[in-house]
């Protein structure tokens, strides 16, 4: 497939727009000097990934990303930032100095090259079949299908994940709970 062919497909316009947004916001997440901005950029990057899932016909995953990530996880992050008193506003000390940033950049770029070249070498010009004209159903996974798959084929991993979530819940409570110091418990004792 030559480049002009690729550019003439309408979905690739959408893809390009989403991809550029995603990379730009992701770049800002890892470089910005404002903590809150980093979180908001992450929202944008995740929203872009949700859009990408919609483009790939994975509706349920897309909305799950929106609900779980953008809805819940981000709030958690904002709380984390506030509780740990991360500096709000512009802060130059959020990243390591150049001494570390440069090797890190080299390593991650090399990682990208390795993964990318492997992928390109493996799949070359393989195409994800577009939806044929007039059959919108093709290539779109209905939520019902995902549900059936989860509760039939993948029911055991599903249960395991539910246990994991419970364990994480308990673990987070145990870790984050503030054990009352002696004076505090004495104070409550006298109040009673």
């Amino acid at each position: 497939m030559i480049l002009t062919d690729w550019f003439t497909m309408p979905e690739n316009f959408v893809y390009s727009a989403i991809g550029v947004t995603m990379l730009a916001t992701a770049y800002r997440v890892v470089t910005t000097r404002n903590v809150v901005h980093a979180v908001l950029h992450l929202v944008a990057a995740l929203a872009a990934s949700a859009a990408l899932f919609l483009l790939l016909g994975a509706e349920f995953v897309a909305w799950t990303v929106v609900l779980v990530y953008i809805g819940a996880v981000i709030v958690l992050f904002l709380f984390g930032i506030m509780i740990t008193r991360a500096p709000l506003g512009v802060e130059t000390e959020l990243s390591h100095p150049r001494r570390i940033r440069i090797p890190a950049a080299i390593v991650s770029f090399a990682l990208f090259l390795v993964i990318g070249s492997t992928m390109v070498g493996a799949f070359k010009d393989d195409v994800i079949e577009p939806a044929p004209q007039g059959t919108m159903e093709f290539g779109i996974t209905r939520t019902a299908d995902v549900g059936q798959s989860i509760f039939q084929r993948f029911v055991i991993p599903f249960e395991v994940v539910s246990v994991l979530l419970l364990a994480a819940l308990i673990g987070a409570i145990v870790l984050a709970r503030k054990d009352p110091t002696e004076e505090e418990s004495e104070a409550t004792g006298t109040m009673r």
Partner: protein
């Protein structure tokens, strides 16, 4: 008992019928005996996870397990007395396939025959009493639950060992015992000397284990199977030109070296006295029923191999000499110890010497009978010592004395245990020791020659020494005036009742095998697939019995002469010293020093120096070289800078700082720096994989 009305059991027992010709497979009881090793192993892990929440913080689980083993062992023992069981269950875990020397299979199985039933009984009954006792003794321990978990694992490992129908499973059990003994000896690891005692025990055993591995491999390769039934089948076939016969001497010797490690025979005995660093119940179980009996058990298991003239019968000369040396040298060492547990430890060594010497003399029954009775009275003595230590908060006999008045129950049980150990009629120790003497005498007149005659004399001297040190211990502990600072008190019932239970065993178990009168023990041990082919006394050897008893009484008399007066005039500690011998004994024949000076230091020193040299020369020079490289790069950069080539300056300055930065990344303690190395390494590996 399966299929036999209960009345028949007793009538057969009373009749004492020789049932050697009618072994059976033991029915469902033997088929279900896989539970004996499996239940403790599983329970040990369950206690780790659920012990703290269970009743008595895991004690109930542990003791219940041992109670199960004890009851099962008793049932098998009784049934074996009546009918004689030989059963071998097995589950083939995998078929490893054809190897250079035939088909090799990995098998997990359980042996139910006279020998292993005796061990189930011993481990179960002694074990349950010690576990019961440990509840009182360990009451305030911080790692109470963990203690019972590893204690159960210890007993379970021993049961895996004795239930093994092949050498591979035996080695698995052997190592389980080793590792759990490491955990238990180092139970109080907060003190450095305890953890190093644990390491010493583990390492000494490892040295010996090499022998076991070599022997097992020689046997397994030459027979083409690791199963005892097939190995001993070859032996029974008496084909002198089999591969096994060719290497039998070396195989037998190597296996005996393994047994020397676990059974703490001279000169590999050094770990056992130090192993007293563990809690007293551990010492009791280790000395009575598990661990140290493993070596003797192993020789008993392969006994036909050691008996047959075409195979390893020459090794028996080595065995009897090692056993005799251990019994005398360790007995003498017990005379000079101040730590009561160490006295008992050297006493155990000495008694193990008796068992080994008996095995070497070809006395399968006598050796194992002594193992059996010794299990009871030595456990009793250790529990008594633990009770004393619990009361006076010291291990040293110089802090004891006069305890007879404070702890009467401990005193009486300890006294009975001491008499049993000294071999006083009619306690259990008398019968087993007498049988050993008789067997050695038989060997001396049937091919053992001068070696066996000498060993017989040594064994009689050993009986004298045994009585002497036990008298000393009893006097220094229970008589005279109390020399310590604590307020001694009798131990609680949870501790004294198990001691009473063991006392019953120490008194009565000799009746199982009175030569010429009862043959229960002999018969039950004879229930094996391949007959052990030993000789056992059929009538009481009156002369030897009288000489042995006289030696013991002489020991007691001398002890009375030496330490009774000592106790009477209330010296701070015993003053009896023999000029030359005493320093030699005090320093344990300098064996530990020898190991330290000639083996450990020479190895450790050069090793440490080699590592140091490698560190300071190779690694440092790599780091320095990289540093020089970076500095050289920096100088180059400086030169370029001087010449004012702006574009190049920035790039190479960056390179220099990058090189310097990379060098500093190696050990910073910061996770992210390591993460960089991990990702870089991944990239490097993947690229390498793609290119090559």
């Amino acid at each position: 008992m399966i299929g036999t009305p209960i009345f028949d059991v007793f009538s057969t027992l009373l009749a004492g019928v020789n049932h050697a010709s009618r072994f059976n497979d033991g029915g469902a009881l033997a088929a279900g005996a896989w539970m004996i090793p499996v239940v403790p192993m599983v329970m040990a892990f369950l206690i780790v996870f659920f012990g703290k929440r269970s009743p008595w913080k895991g004690w109930v689980m542990a003791t219940g397990t041992m109670l199960f083993v004890a009851i099962y062992g008793m049932a098998l023992f009784l049934m074996n007395l009546v009918e004689g069981i030989t059963y071998q269950g097995s589950v083939w875990l995998s078929d490893v396939g054809t190897t250079a020397f035939g088909v090799l299979n990995v098998e997990w199985g359980w042996m139910v025959d006279g020998l292993s039933i005796m061990m189930y009984f011993l481990v179960g009954v002694v074990g349950v009493l010690i576990f019961w006792y440990a509840r009182g003794y360990m009451e305030d321990d911080v790692r109470y639950t963990w203690f019972f978990a590893s204690f159960t694992l210890f007993a379970g490992g021993m049961l895996v060992l004795v239930s093994a129908p092949n050498l591979i499973q035996l080695i698995v059990g052997w190592e389980l015992v080793g590792v759990s003994s490491y955990l238990l000896i180092g139970h109080y690891w907060e003190e450095h000397q305890n953890s190093s005692a644990a390491i010493k025990a583990f390492m000494t055993n490892k040295v010996a284990d090499v022998g076991l591995f070599v022997g097992a491999i020689i046997i397994g390769v030459s027979v083409g199977s690791f199963r005892f039934s097939e190995i001993l089948g070859v032996v029974e076939g008496e084909s002198g030109d089999s591969t096994l016969a060719k290497y039998a001497f070396w195989a037998g010797l190597a296996i005996f070296i393994g047994a020397m490690g676990k059974s703490a025979q001279f000169p590999l005995h050094v770990w056992l006295p130090d192993a007293m660093a563990g809690p007293t119940p551990v010492s009791a179980l280790m000395h009575a029923a598990t661990m140290v009996t493993a070596g003797v058990y192993l020789i008993g298991r392969l006994f036909p191999f050691y008996m047959n003239d075409l195979f390893a019968s020459d090794v028996r000369t080595v065995i009897i000499i090692v056993g005799a040396a251990t019994l005398l040298l360790a007995g003498l060492l017990a005379l000079v110890q101040d730590d009561i547990k160490r006295v008992l430890a050297y006493s155990t060594l000495s008694q193990l010497g008796y068992m080994t010497a008996a095995m070497g003399a070809g006395a399968y029954t006598a050796g194992l009978f002594h193992l059996f009775t010794h299990g009871f009275f030595k456990a009793l003595l250790f529990l008594g010592a633990g009770s004393i230590i619990h009361a006076v908060h010291s291990n040293n006999m110089s802090d004891m004395g006069g305890l007879r008045k404070y702890m009467p129950r401990t005193f009486w049980t300890f006294l009975i245990g001491s008499f049993a150990l000294a071999g006083i009629f009619p306690l259990a120790g008398f019968w087993s020791k007498d049988e050993i003497l008789a067997s050695i005498q038989y060997d001396a007149s049937h091919g053992g020659g001068a070696v066996a005659s000498t060993v017989l004399v040594v064994a009689i001297i050993g009986a004298f020494v045994t009585a002497l040190y036990m008298t000393r211990t009893v006097y220094l502990t229970f008589f005279g005036k109390y020399k310590g600072d604590a307020h001694p008190h009798e131990s609680p019932k949870t501790m004294t009742l198990p001691m009473v239970g063991l006392t019953i065993g120490a008194v009565g178990l000799g009746a199982l095998n009175i030569p010429g009168i009862t043959t229960w023990f002999t018969d039950s041990l004879a229930a094996r697939f391949v007959a052990p082919g030993d000789h056992h006394a059929t009538s009481i050897e009156w002369v030897l019995a009288i000489i042995g008893t006289a030696a013991a009484l002489a020991g007691i008399a001398l002890g009375y002469r030496l330490w009774h007066r000592d106790a009477a005039i209330q010296r701070d500690r015993d003053t009896f010293r023999i000029p030359v011998l005493y320093p030699l004994l005090e320093n344990k024949y300098y064996i530990d020093d020898f190991y330290m000076g000639n083996i450990i230091r020479p190895v450790r020193g050069p090793l440490a120096r080699a590592v140091d040299w490698f560190n300071s020369h190779i690694i440092d020079s790599v780091v320095n070289g990289a540093g020089y490289l970076a500095r050289g790069l920096g100088k180059t950069v400086y030169l370029f800078d001087q010449r004012g080539i702006d574009g190049v300056i920035n790039v190479s300055g960056f390179a220099a700082s990058f090189a310097g930065g990379m060098l500093r990344l190696f050990q910073t303690g910061r996770v992210q720096h390591y993460a960089i190395m991990i990702f870089a390494g991944t990239v490097f590996l993947v690229v390498g994989l793609i290119i090559f």
